[in-house]
Amino acid sequence: MGDTLSQESDPPAAEIRALWREGRIEEARLALVHETQHSVFRFLKAMMRDEDLAQDLAQDTFMRAFQSLGSFRGEAKATTWILAIARNLALNRSRRLRLEQRWQQLTDQPPDLADREAVPEPGEPRLTAALAALPSAQREAIVLYYVEDLGIDDVARITGRPANTIKSDLHRARAALRAVLEERQDSATGIGERGVIR
């Protein structure tokens, strides 16, 4: 995957590119891991709503990134480049999980209810639960914009949606999260199925 996501260059991206060009492939990969691992993990955790799945997908994301590191020209931020890979893998996995769930329903096996419980979060459980309850388009927009500090243009390029749609998604998502955070009552929040992006 080429890094046509942004014309902006950042020092870590240039360093990764330089290491790769010098044939120091392992060091280039290591620099990529150090630079982007938290972003990849946070994004996948928010999208999949399941920490184990997020870890599994993070590993797949880095394997895919290592394979296509040669196509990374260092013009875009390394984070922007690798998050696009992570998003594709997350969508593929989600589609597969949805098919598996449909198959499970067809074969009349009751779904594992225990597995559908929300993951208790140590920090801000209400915020995490509210984030998990957002529609996937709003969730990914809010994570990419507020957590990963990407610009609207980068979020639009990664998600393939128009910039104006991203803006309205961000406004809606922020309003929804604020409403939940301002509620004093600790009411139970509806959470979607883990691992399935809706």
């Binding site: 691992q37 946070r42 040669g70 920090g123 957590v147 609207i152 243009d153 999260l177 604020r178």
Partner: protein
Amino acid sequence: MSVRPEDLKDDRFGERLKRSLGTTPARLSLRLERLTAAGLRPGERDDRSKLLWHELGIQWIGLGLAVVLVLGILPWTLTHIIAPAIPSSPTLLGMLASPGSLGPLTLPLGLLLFVEAMRGAPTLRRWLR
């Protein structure tokens, strides 16, 4: 260019979200660091700054050497190894030792050498190592 509109600015909100999602578990970090060596031999360097013509040059030199080697060895092999094993017939010997006898071999040999060259002369490199 990174577009971040003023009306969406909310650093505190971003910090809270970041905190709530946490950071990469140490076990995953370790696993990812180990993965960086996947598919690489220890200490291997693969200099990608080499130009294409450099790579191609090496391949064509390899091909040239292979051709010279085969053309040099074949008549000698025919005269000294194959011919003595065949019952003496001046006509047959003459045919075998003459360059004309190489004619039918040109096509299969050429094909073999072409494939070898296209693969980056791995056999030749193995011999030279």
